[in-house]
């Protein structure tokens, strides 16, 4: 089975405090640690496991710039055979639908049996996979946390994570698009050695011309636009304890007792 996994390089929000810049039009990006979007990494691992069982190759693709090559190489070090960078000035300012349109052109120029994305990335939108499926008229399932190849490789049995820890199982025909939830597998470790081994594998770059794209991408085509960033309202806001650790611990224990928590 030939599988495309759409990936994104994002600021690792578990490693960074996200701070808004003084102009309020972006976050402070200078000192950020970037990594592959966590959901996408699970998607690549899942693709590799399926390809190991069924044969075929895994391709990773990202829409971005030169700096995004590092995550393609990282995923190639995991085992993805091909990396593709989709990059063009004309892609800048694309909304979710624009990104989906770029990926659609890539899919139409190749033979993929299965397309995976992460459930969501840094903007929490979770939109590209579902849009891509609709554009291609492929079936779609989101929040997928198990995949089984059935019917002699013609379809999949997928589990979706729904409320309360329950799982919804469906049969889905190929080709299809699935958005992958974290925890579906245990992504393999990637060492420096692995990354060095793929350092010289060429990564082709495709632009708008290569993909036959015109007005459907970029800022002018976007229906949805981020205007600014701002600090979320505090809500009721916690009372912050500013004392030393020992004092804070005493306070916490007293509060827990007062709430009828411990004896």
């Amino acid at each position: 089975m030939n599988i495309l996994v759409c990936v994104k390089r994002v600021p690792d929000s578990s490693e960074n405090e996200i701070v808004i810049n003084p102009a309020g039009n972006d976050i402070e990006r200078d000192d950020l640690v970037y990594s592959i979007n966590e959901w996408d990494n699970y998607a690549v691992e899942e693709a590799l496991q399926i390809a190991e069982r069924t044969g075929g190759a895994v391709t990773v693709a990202t829409v971005g710039g030169e700096e995004d090559e590092e995550i393609l190489r990282r995923e190639m070090a995991m085992g993805a055979r091909h990396g593709v960078l989709l990059s063009d000035e004309r892609f800048e300012g694309s909304d979710g639908r624009g990104v989906a349109a770029i990926l659609k052109s890539l899919v139409e120029r190749n033979q993929f049996d299965l397309i995976l994305t992460g459930v969501q990335a840094d903007d929490g939108a979770g939109q590209v996979g579902g849009m891509l499926a609709a554009m291609l008229d492929y079936p779609f399932a989101s929040l997928v946390n198990s995949i089984e190849v059935i019917g002699g490789g013609s379809k999949l049995k997928v589990g979706r994570e729904i409320e309360g820890g329950a799982r919804e199982f469906s049969e889905i025909g190929l080709p299809c698009v699935l958005s992958i939830q974290t925890g579906i597998n245990e992504p393999r470790y990637v060492g420096m050695r692995g990354i060095r081994q793929v350092a010289n594998v060429p990564i082709p770059t495709y632009g708008a011309g290569d993909l036959g794209l015109n007005g459907e991408v970029g800022a002018s085509a976007a229906k949805v636009r981020r205007v600014d960033y701002f600090v979320p309202p505090a809500g009721k806001g916690a009372e912050m304890l500013e004392g030393g650790r020992e004092e804070n611990i005493d306070r916490v224990i007293a509060l827990v007792k007062a709430s009828g928590g411990v004896k």
């Binding site: 405090e17 309360g164 199982f169 299809c176 974290t182 925890g183 960033y229």
Partner: protein, 331 residues
């Protein structure tokens, strides 16, 4: 502003989801002059019961019925909606597992804009709708502007709008039968509920809950020691389960358990909305996190910026000392 506004009603066992009433409030923020139309898709008596209950709060309810809609398969419902919705519609959908499945593709099929996970709506000027979203797991907010010339699908985060008051009117139920073929290439098989775990975290008055900040599997033990000293249970957020350090039965959140403790101690938990959705009953929330901007501090009652890997063992030692003293005093 003349676009019709529809509220997609998620329902189960004949009962509408809480978002049904929240969407009355959300719709008024888009256009105060327009009454939103509820859409209920399904088949059978449960669907009828939902429509009947909505007549108290919606002036118009579209009941979309077909055998094919018996189970809410987003692939089927997307086709049905694309068939019955008028051009330029604004559609509100709950941003939960069904809405995430349905809406991105629906927006494409309708040629409409899509705004996911909206936490507030500031209104419409001419053809531009302005809404508030969050990024980076709730660490920052953004204003987004959306061109609604060709309509919009807006996924609204459950719980962010207060339930709208009943209109006092008796709504009309209008039956809509999709004219298109509802065959899809995704077939629902079954729903599997999780097995009970070793510890039932929903039964404990105090939860020692750990998140990504616990860093590695070996550190789970320090949380267990604190919980034991306090007579509490260890619960967790999603990353701990993803890493297979604790079983799914310990997870608090929309995709895990809903808990109602008296005290919820969040150690190294950032506080995503999916996690917070699993904490009910207004417990005392005490959050300890090394990131002063962690969203959990916006909802906690008490917050401490500290390293949990040092804080937890010291707290355990203190609780043990106090328990020992109390034991002697009562002896």
């Amino acid at each position: 502003m003349t676009a019709p506004i529809f509220a997609y009603i998620v329902h189960k066992d004949g009962v509408a989801d809480d978002t049904a009433l929240e969407f009355l409030t959300a719709a008024k923020k888009i256009d105060a002059a327009r009454n939103p139309v509820a859409i209920v898709a399904g088949s059978g008596g449960g669907t009828d019961a939902v429509c009947e209950s909505l007549r108290k709060s919606y002036q118009e309810i579209w009941k979309i019925t077909s055998e094919a809609l018996t189970y809410p398969n987003a692939e089927v419902i997307r086709k049905a909606l694309a068939d019955v919705l008028p051009a330029g519609s604004i559609v509100l959908v709950p941003h939960a597992h069904f809405g995430v499945d349905l809406s991105p593709g629906l927006s494409v099929k309708l040629g409409a804009a899509y705004v996911p996970d909206v936490v507030d709506i500031e209104g419409v000027h001419s053809t531009v709708l302005r809404a508030v979203r969050q990024e980076f797991g709730g660490q920052v907010s953004t204003h987004v502007e959306c061109d609604i010339t060709a309509g919009a699908v807006i996924n609204v985060r459950p719980g962010v709008f207060t339930a709208g008051a009943a209109a006092g009117a008796t709504g009309t139920v209008v039956e809509k039968v999709p004219g298109c073929d509802l065959t899809v290439r995704r077939r629902y098989i079954e729903t599997v509920v999780p097995e009970a775990g070793d510890v039932d975290i929903t039964k404990y008055p105090v939860l020692v809950s750990i998140g990504r900040g616990i860093q590695e599997q070996d550190n789970i033990a320090i949380a267990e020691e604190l919980a034991e000293a306090m007579g509490a249970a260890v619960s967790c957020s999603r990353p701990v389960v993803d890493a297979k350090w604790l079983p799914k039965s310990r997870q608090v959140g929309s995709s895990g358990n809903t808990v109602k403790p008296k005290v919820y101690m969040a150690f190294g938990i950032s506080g995503s909305f999916q996690h917070l959705a699993g904490i009910k009953g207004n417990p005392l929330i005490i959050a300890i996190n090394k990131n002063p901007r962690a969203p959990i501090f916006r909802v906690a009652d008490v917050g401490i910026v500290d390293d949990i890997l040092e804080f937890i063992p010291e707290m355990t030692a203190k609780v043990r000392t106090m328990t020992a003293v109390a034991g002697k005093a009562s002896a």
